[in-house]
């Protein structure tokens, strides 16, 4: 009988991660000075982490594989269902990554406005009326925050190559 449920797969991933990090801990240089070597504390944590992950695996294997993981809703079964289910978070992560990648080009002000505008439209809709409202919200909110940081708190926000100084 297949006892592997989602928690069990996750526990296996955590165990693999523990193994990888333990292996990486042998790359930490051991100096001749100091009492507690720099690798000791991470290894203590990793041993505990590995033990807990093994416990988690046993706990998961003992649970009914057909039941949904505790405290969580049932997930869709197909890949398409997954994509629909995760649509908004994927959009947010993707747009935020694009925002970071474009930061050197657009600068914090323009990039921030573009990010908030596109995100608002992606989450809220692309009708003309929506876009007008979203543009106003993006300009006012990001412009306001940028002004507070730049002029109020004297933080040097990154400028872009597209419009130097902005």
């Amino acid at each position: 009988m297949n006892r592997m449920n989602r928690d069990a797969w996750l526990a296996v991933a955590l165990l693999l991660f523990t193994g990888f990090m333990l292996w990486a801990s042998f790359d930490i240089r051991e100096p001749d000075y100091g009492v507690l070597a720099p690798s000791v504390w991470p290894r203590i944590i990793l041993v505990i982490f590995g033990f807990l992950s093994a416990l988690y695996l046993m706990q998961s294997l003992r649970a009914d594989p057909e039941s949904a993981p505790e405290g969580e809703e049932e997930l869709p079964a197909s890949l398409m269902g997954y994509l629909v289910y995760w649509r908004n978070p994927i959009i947010c992560f993707g747009l935020f990554a694009a925002y970071l990648a474009l930061l050197p080009v657009l600068g914090m002000l323009l990039d921030g406005m573009a990010f908030v505008f596109v995100l608002l439209c992606a989450l809220g809709g692309w009708s003309l009326r929506d876009m007008a409202i979203h543009a106003a919200v993006a300009v006012i909110s990001v412009g306001g925050m940028w002004s507070v940081f730049t002029y109020g708190l004297r933080v040097l926000m990154p400028t872009g190559m597209l419009i130097p100084g902005l």
Partner: protein, 563 residues
């Protein structure tokens, strides 16, 4: 000396700029608290970048104000819409919403506002009186004791913040592990950098906190496209005027509930990991048990509003006591406050109040003043706060994500912090999704360095590990850590398994041992007396259970876990 420090602290806090910032902070906190899904911790985390350029006292006063506002903001949404703004206001809805639906929203709000104020003031008094005393006790702590205190804080947070202890502990260990990335503090050796310059610098822990908490929370809130486009709350009465006089009269008649709930809140706050979400249910449950009419609870009676609202506002006073006296954050919000102190090069420890008395007292005073500002704002701007709950979630999410980018960049003016924000946002989102609590991980990130440094100091002093088990304070924290780790099993098995009848008595007897050791070692009479009282309490509980014929159902308690 104390008077002089208090006067100096008043001078620090009572400037026009600071009071204005505090007012903005309380207003921001009230708004954040009123929005379901927008937690107080998130509001405090997002305030942090604004405080970098402020003097420490001003920055902390602003953050304390957000905290106080956030604690009270949840009650408005809870009473008028039945949807608690924050987990700290869950129990408030049990009687607050029925009372509002019965046509008394003004009285329900008045009870909530004045109970919050009373809870805040009582815990502020306890904060001022208890924090210096606890700090004096903390001066006895040696590295072994500190290390065990951190372990206890992590264990109890893991056991109280989720449904699965193992997941909580994994989250805590992951937090500790995240803090080891980069150069180690003791000898400056690179750890887990994998040849990357960014990893060699380590993760800025504020960027980690914002990513884990705020970023992931927002993505969680907009996960469902239909919900994201809906207003946060579309039901409930908005035409309400707070009935102050009637509320004060009702609260005065029930002063015992106020006092009991404030104590429950403060002492729950002192305990690391147990926050307002536990305190409000515990206070509600105790008020119900002590009531002559427990059957009326849930129908809209004043007692059911007063108890949870008093206790949840008292919690932060308690959490601040632990943070200021021992340097151990009691919950996520105080973990962020601790981060704010560290940014200003102030390291909270038992010597903090003695070494930085003006800053310490300015935090006390800010806590007092913020409660008054909260009372004033909550009365005058009720409509505004309720209108905020009409905003569509996706607007908030997009704007706040944009703000997160700017705020995190302002930390160190480096792009890599923004990537840290993104990666930890993804990690936090996945952890939430897979049912891992974030609070232990956040505490692990904040306390990781403290644990490692104290372990290094302990090993430097004595290479034997025996002091961890033979020093009274270390043993004390070890014992309470073990019992707090077993607490979720106790909670689940309570009323069903025979061994649960012995959990509390055995805990009492075990805790009495290090207390007795302290009494013998230091010749301390009070600790000896406390040890005897604890033993007698354990024996009394055991006797009670024997008297009831070892009846399991008679000792089933409330569910204290977050939902």
């Amino acid at each position: 000396m104390i008077i002089e420090n208090i006067i100096l602290a008043f001078g620090e806090v009572l400037t026009i700029k600071t009071v204005l910032l505090m007012t903005l902070g309380v207003a921001g906190g009230l708004v954040a608290g009123a929005i379901p899904g927008f937690t107080i911790a998130m509001a405090v985390v997002l305030t942090l970048p604004f405080t970098f350029s402020m003097p420490p006292s001003q920055g902390l006063a602003t953050m304390v104000s957000v905290l106080v506002g956030g604690l009270s903001g949840g009650l408005m949404a809870g009473i008028l819409t039945g949807i608690p703004g924050t987990p700290s206001s869950v129990a408030t809805t049990f009687d607050g919403f029925p009372m509002a639906r019965k046509g008394k929203p003004g009285l329900a709000l008045g009870l909530g506002v004045w109970s919050s104020f009373s809870g805040g003031m009582i815990s502020a008094i306890l904060l001022v009186t208890l924090a210096p005393q606890l700090a004096r006790v903390g001066l006895e702590f040696q590295p072994w004791d500190y290390f065990m205190l951190v372990m206890f804080a992590l264990t109890i947070t893991a056991s109280l913040s989720g449904k699965n202890l193992v997941k909580g502990l994994i989250a805590g260990a992951l937090g500790l592990l995240v803090r080891t990335v980069g150069e180690d503090e003791a000898v400056g050796m690179a750890r887990f950098d994998f040849g990357s310059e960014m990893l060699l610098q380590g993760f800025d822990f504020i960027a980690v906190l914002i990513g884990l908490f705020a970023f992931s929370q927002l993505l969680n809130d907009v996960r469902d496209p239909a919900q994201a486009r809906k207003s946060l709350s579309e039901k409930g009465a908005i035409q309400a005027r707070i009935e102050h006089r009637a509320a004060i009269k009702e609260i005065a008649k029930r002063w015992t509930i106020v006092l009991r709930s404030a104590f429950i809140g403060t002492f729950t706050g002192i305990l690391p990991g147990a926050g307002g979400s536990v305190a409000n249910i515990l206070a509600y449950d105790q008020a119900k048990k002590a009531s002559k009419h427990p059957e009326k609870f849930g129908t809209g009676i004043p007692d059911g509003v007063i108890a949870p609202e008093t206790s949840n506002n008292a919690v932060e006073g308690g959490a601040l006591i632990t943070m200021m006296a021992l340097g151990i954050p009691g919950d996520v919000t105080t973990a962020v406050m601790l981060g704010a102190l560290l940014i200003h090069d102030v390291v909270p420890s038992p010597t903090f109040i003695a070494e930085e008395p003006v800053l310490a007292y300015s935090i006390f005073i800010a806590f007092f003043i913020a409660n008054f500002i909260m009372l004033f704002l909550q009365s005058g701007m009720l409509r505004v706060f309720i209108l905020v709950t009409r905003i569509r979630m996706y607007f908030l999410a997009a704007i706040i994500l944009g703000f997160c980018g700017m705020g995190v960049f302002a930390l160190n003016n480096v792009d890599s912090d923004l990537w840290t924000l993104l990666w930890f946002g993804i990690l936090g989102f996945l952890m939430r999704h897979f049912g891992f609590p974030l609070a232990p991980m956040i505490l692990g990130v904040v306390l990781g360095n403290i644990a490692e440094l104290n372990l290094a100091r302990a090993v430097a002093i004595d290479d034997s590990f025996m002091p961890f088990f033979t020093r009274p304070w270390s043993l004390f924290f070890l014992i309470v850590a073990v019992f707090s780790a077993a607490f979720p099993w106790f909670q689940n098995a309570r009323g069903k398994k025979m061994w649960t009848l012995f959990y509390l008595p055995v805990a009492c007897f075990a805790v009495a041992l290090p207390l007795a050791m302290m009494a013998l070692q230091h010749g301390s009479v009070p600790r000896g007396v406390i040890a005897i009282i604890v033993v007698i309490s354990g024996a009394y509980i055991l006797w009670q259970r024997w008297q009831s014929g070892w009846n399991l159902q008679a000792h089933a308690g409330p569910d204290l876990k977050e939902g």
